[in-house]
Symmetry: D2
Subunit: 177 residues, 4 copies
């Protein structure tokens, strides 16, 4: 069954992901004044999923490229999601953030990459040798879904750790649509 | 020449637009805690143009539907841009904003419409009888371009009125892209 | 561990989802000339994930609201993703699609709803009594993630069933970013 | 009055824009299999305005970055809108399009720039010495509004030249929203 294939692969990747990532990434997020998130293509959709919940959880968070996204300052974090670590436009964003003095954090399928070289911290999802071709999960699918579940679990971690009531998150949620 | 056709039609519409709109709309914007802007299709693009400059000018402004747009509260304004005043999804947004107690302001090609009935204030751009078919400016083009120039001139009005330095606006402008 | 909480809940929901959904939804997609996908908020992000892979897999597919999305015709399908089945703007879209004569298909957490009443076919993800509050998976999270994995598995189903080579999908994938 | 300031400046820029641009750009668009349009920030909004009308006028046109935008091929055009001609992410797109063999066309405030060096054709809007600071039209406003009106007039040019009936454009226009 295809659902088992997909869930099985995500489970395998997350089992090979360092358990300390959750606490470490939370700590970095908590130290930043504001959090700017960016990704290209489907990694950009993951960025959107995450940044919305960051806002619900009380962080001041922005998606790079939306119309009211303000300028980055040196006390902010740029969180970049890139499986390959080599997306050109994200490299340009990361270099600019770095020059401003902001912290650059990368979530990637591998530690070593152009973005990895720029980033102050890299969170590797799974291990590079687990990303071989999987028929039915084309292109970046394995990284994308694993990263999404990793970040949704991080939100769950926040909620439990900080005791954020669902009502409080709901009250921050867009209420016109 | 087509540029003259387009500029001529915009000029005609703006000449028929009430001069007091600029000061009145500025006053309403200044009284609101936060400003939420919405429009569908090309009016949605105008909403994006405007909300970005509102942010640059120091207002707390959001586009309805972006991922970090928060919930509307009773001290906020929903500014809706709709030529026809009858866009169903905008009616749904306006009704919800009204129920929350927020102020609903409409920018439209006509005073009377479903959205006009809901709105606390309507700013009519031009006069309804000026919106006849113009070959080369199909569908809502005349309203859209006139409204865009109206709102860009409103930004110019803020800047002169309040003496906002361009450097301050630039400092708020997105700096990664 | 939070990752286990999230993966466990998705697994539970998918185990309670009708196995025949995969084949039935594929058949409906294959019968439609073109597929228009829509959702609000995070369900809108799931719509984006899915529509991109539909395009890669060779379907003519569009997201409602993007700038080059054309008009719907009677031979097309509108696929709506809505946990509650009650999102007002989606009801407006579904009613309009229905009037045009297009097929309306709903993916939802429950069979009975305003959108369910309009839809020609409803695909229920899980069972309504499985959607109680889960601390750490706030608001629609359980439905959203389960539906995303359901649709990613559907893509896997296409790929295996039709023997679509990954190279072919890659060749259709955006190549500027 | 601010509306006169804004309209006056646009008129001045367009008067200084080469009259042959309209026919030349139309010819290039007509020779391309498909047209991909891109811009950053507010120039990205202008790209959206234009690409929607290209679609209405019967061109196969896409915005770079939307979820169903396909891969560029050597018979396609990438049309880039950039006032400065130096936006890094657009340079990356243009280089990639060039390598694929697609035609790269730039609309800019100046002929000489990094993007100008890559482009096969550059359409200069106004003359560089007309872009001095205008209080009330901050940052790229003068270029953006002038370019928007230039492109809307280009659409008007198509419509007249080719005798495209408004009903035909309306029939292609998104009909769910």
């Amino acid at each position: 069954m295809h659902q088992q294939l997909v869930l099985g692969k995500i489970t395998e990747i997350l089992a090979a992901t360092d358990d300390s990532h959750e606490a470490e990434l939370t700590q970095l997020l908590d130290k930043s004044s504001r959090i700017f998130v960016s990704g290209a293509g489907r990694s950009g959709l993951i960025a959107r999923f995450f940044v919305m919940r960051l806002m619900h959880a009380g962080y001041e968070a922005y998606l790079v490229g939306e119309v009211v996204t303000p300028s980055v300052r040196d006390s902010d974090m740029l969180l970049v999601i890139s499986g390959s670590g080599g997306t050109e436009q994200l490299i340009a964003f990361a270099n600019r953030a770095k020059k401003i003095g902001a912290q650059v954090v990368l979530i990637s399928a591998k530690r070593d990459s152009a973005l990895g070289d720029i980033a102050d911290a890299v969170f590797e999802i799974g291990k590079p040798d687990l990303y071989g071709t999987v028929v039915g999960m084309p292109m970046g699918t394995v990284f994308e879904l694993s990263t999404l579940i990793f970040l949704e679990a991080l939100i769950s971690h926040f909620i439990h750790e900080k005791g954020i009531p669902e009502e409080q998150m709901k009250a921050r949620h867009a209420n016109l649509e």
